[in-house]
């Protein structure tokens, strides 16, 4: 086996105190070399531990000792004490904040693992194309339990008591929704899984379907039993071929095992699932639009009520939940309402999956208990901001959400806190922005998305968002005024107040929250015609530094619009009126004589 008897794992995440990690590795190796131990002890640089607050971290294997806030000069102590004498360095151990006691074995340190995987419990663990692996992990036990031990009412009560709220964005109580669908009497009812994850930056539903499709199938069957439906439909984006493939395999296997189909477990309950494909329309995430789309129509929303629970697919009572909501259901059934409701905050129970993306080191999929702070998510689990830039904001809830800032970092994340902070949970996308991102351009970017995705049915969303987008464009070009900011706000509020569906009712959120949180940046654009982040091309000016210019004419030759004049060997000048800000001159200049103001 290994020639190494011991491994020293040094946190090399690019976040937090990454700069020091290299020095620690260096020092450790030097120390080991000096003691002639390099052949038996290996020093390894690892990825982020997600505990950056206490970084840098050194973990000693095989005994799982976990040293925190290690400094390069601690290398000597670790080698001398721990490696050679086998004595743990007490002062470097993590102290439990409550008991103040040192925790030496990271196995007892689950609390540092801020993530808790419920919806993602099987993702990255089982082979999604093998139903046996799901069964070995207690798959379909929850379905068995409700079918043989519980009445539909009891099941609904359990889900209600768990306090789970829909993970699709609205945050409506799952159990209550099921109850409404159950109450409406009909010969046919439908269970629909909304897998039309169209929110840019969100990929949790895709990951669940690709990693653990059976959890969704099982939950849909449980829902079917609860509300009295025997047909399930999954509305999935056509852009997710792998998820579709795995769902097809999973449905096939479940049917083969008799876990879908007629008379499941011999209980007389029958349930089967078919797939319906989306075709690229974000608005179909809205449940009435989704239902119309499943009916072969344009995905236009209709006024609620009637809610789908009364009249949905084929005008029958229909219950729509999203992928993540369903994926947690089997766990809730097996572990109970009390267990689930013990996780999270008072009004938001359980865990939430977030897709971390943007200017963050550890882009990825995470699942944390409700109530975890943004700081923990971004700076611990996410490993902080890329390229040692400054954190500026985080867009939660995608184009429907808002941009939260420094001052919100310690806010516990839950449905209500996010709304209070001017954003929303949405599907769980978190896009982290740094100092280089212009908040006017970002708002414009989100509006561009809404304009493209608006179905066009109602006037405020169809035209209003277009006007918002145009006005933001004007501001980016330095053509805005202070009065325009007021107009922006009024238009935004009216669009929210009057739009037909959730898309229009939330589309101005990015503008409103960014204007609110970054007012001075907006003012800079309209009054000083400056873009503090240096993103807005029209507000940039390329200038030649007279001291550096040698008159080589390279810039003048490369300029596509002949905006640069100057004689050979004489200082050149850029005519800012003609300049199109393409940046070619700056790229060409070998003397660093061109800069942006």
């Amino acid at each position: 086996m290994s020639k190494y008897s011991m491994h020293l794992l040094v946190c090399g995440g690019t976040g937090c105190h990454a700069a020091e990690s290299d020095a620690i590795v260096c020092n450790l190796r030097d120390e080991l070399e000096a003691k002639g131990l390099l052949d038996s002890v290996q020093v390894i640089l690892t990825g982020c531990f997600g505990f950056c607050e206490k970084g840098p971290i050194v973990k000693v294997m095989p005994d799982n000792t976990f040293y925190v806030q290690v400094k390069p000069e601690d290398a000597q102590t670790i080698v001398e004490e721990h490696v050679i004498k086998g004595r743990k360095v007490n002062r470097l151990l993590y102290k439990d904040p409550l008991t103040k006691e040192a925790v030496s074995d990271s196995k007892h340190m689950v609390f540092y693992k801020k993530q808790m995987r419920i919806a993602l419990r099987n993702c990255g663990f089982i082979n999604p194309e093998n139903i046996d692996e799901y069964i070995a992990r207690d798959g379909y036990q929850a379905l068995g339990k409700v079918l043989t031990e519980m009445s539909p009412e009891e099941t609904i009560k359990l889900v209600k008591d768990s306090g789970q709220r829909g993970r699709g964005g609205g945050g409506f109580s799952t159990g209550l929704k099921w109850e409404l669908a159950r109450k409406n009497v009909s010969d046919e009812k439908y269970v629909v899984c909304n897998a039309d994850e169209g929110d840019p930056g969100a990929f949790m539903d895709r990951s669940v379907l690709e990693g653990d499709p059976h959890s969704v199938l099982e939950a849909m069957a449980i829902c079917g039993y609860s509300i009295g439906a025997s047909d399930g439909l999954i509305y999935i984006r056509a852009e997710y071929p792998l998820a579709i493939e795995r769902l097809k395999i999973a449905i096939g296997q479940a049917r083969e095992y008799g876990l879908l189909g007629d008379n499941i477990f011999g209980t007389g309950f029958s349930f089967d699932i078919t797939l319906r494909y989306g075709a690229g329309a974000f608005v179909c995430g809205e449940e009435t639009a989704l239902i119309h789309s499943m009916e072969g129509l344009r995905g236009e929303p209709t006024v609620k009520p009637p809610f789908p629970a009364e009249s949905g697919y084929r005008n029958k009572p229909t219950n729509v939940n999203n992928v993540e909501t369903f994926a947690s259901i089997p766990a809730i059934i097996l572990k109970g309402a009390r267990w689930y409701s013990s996780i999270g905050t008072e009004k938001s129970k359980g865990t939430k999956v977030f897709a971390l993306a943007g200017k963050i080191n550890n882009v990825g999929l995470i699942e944390v208990p409700m109530g975890t702070t943004l700081r923990e998510v971004i700076f611990e689990i996410g490993g902080g901001i890329r390229n040692v830039k400054k954190f500026k904001g985080v867009q939660t809830g995608g184009p429907s959400g808002g941009c939260l800032t420094e001052k919100h970092l310690d806010t516990p994340i839950d449905f209500d806190n996010l709304i209070a902070a001017g954003s929303m949970m949405g599907s769980g996308a978190m896009i982290v922005l740094d100092e280089d991102d212009c908040m006017v351009s970002m708002a414009k970017f989100f509006l561009e998305f809404t304009v493209e995705e608006s179905c066009g049915k109602c006037a405020p969303c169809r035209i209003g968002n277009k006007r918002l987008h145009e006005l933001l464009g004007q501001i980016c070009e330095g053509k805005g005024s202070l009065a325009d900011l007021d107009r922006l706000k009024n238009m935004s509020l009216v669009i929210k107040d009057t739009s037909l569906c959730g898309l229009g009712q939330t589309s101005p959120n990015p503008v409103l929250s960014m204007m609110d949180n970054f007012r001075e940046e907006y003012v800079a654009h309209v009054t000083h015609k400056k873009c503090p982040a240096g993103q807005c091309k029209s507000l940039m000016e390329y200038i030649i530094n007279l001291d550096n210019c040698v008159g080589c004419t390279a810039c003048a030759r490369v300029c596509p619009v002949n905006a640069i004049t100057g004689e050979r060997k004489e200082v050149h000048l850029i005519n800012s009126a003609t300049c199109i800000k393409c940046g070619a001159c700056m790229e060409k200049c070998k003397f660093d004589a061109i800069y942006i103001s």
């Binding site: 930056g201 852009e239 319906r276 989306g278 690229g280 329309a281 993306a357 867009q395 896009i431």
Partner: protein, 161 residues
């Protein structure tokens, strides 16, 4: 007077017919039928929509209404290698715009366009859910992650022969 000339090859008409039958000629299956047809023909020309309309008993105006509603459906043939640049938020903040710009420059076509030799077509799409690889470019079925403007020439080269 109906002056649209619907010209299709016999086997094309048969394909559409068979596709509609596969979905029980149920008007509610229109979107699934259109998916199958687009996969087969590469796009959804008016002729195909007319035939689908006839077999599903949905007015052709409604079929067209559906085709133009969903961005996945297209009425113009794509290039042999359709290039899509993800413009989701994650890709956007990591420079997807510059990547798109570079493709435009290299291929000398606009978004939505196809090169004159029908080799490449260019489109932007919204989030493929591969945000960890931002910015992401799709060429046909192949996904390219962490694409920088400098990579574009190399990517295009792979498809030249």
């Amino acid at each position: 007077m109906s002056s649209i000339k619907i010209e299709l090859r016999n086997e094309d008409v048969d394909f559409i017919k068979a596709t509609c039958s596969k979905f029980n000629s149920d008007p509610q299956e229109l979107i699934n039928v259109l998916h199958s047809c687009q996969e087969h023909f590469g796009y959804l020309p008016a002729e195909v929509q007319e035939v689908v309309s006839g077999h599903l008993n949905v007015p052709v105006a409604k079929v067209y209404g559906v085709v133009t509603f969903y961005s996945f459906f297209t009425m113009t043939p794509k290039g042999k290698h359709p290039i899509s640049i993800c413009m989701g938020t994650a890709c956007y903040v990591r420079g997807a715009e510059k990547v798109l710009e570079e493709f435009r420059k290299e291929l000398k076509i606009q978004v939505g366009g196809t090169t004159s030799d029908n080799k490449f077509s260019l489109s932007s799409l919204r989030c493929v859910g591969a945000c960890g690889l931002a910015p992401v470019v799709l060429v046909g079925d192949k996904t390219y992650g962490r694409v920088a403007p400098d990579d574009i020439k190399g990517i295009l080269k792979e498809y030249e022969k």
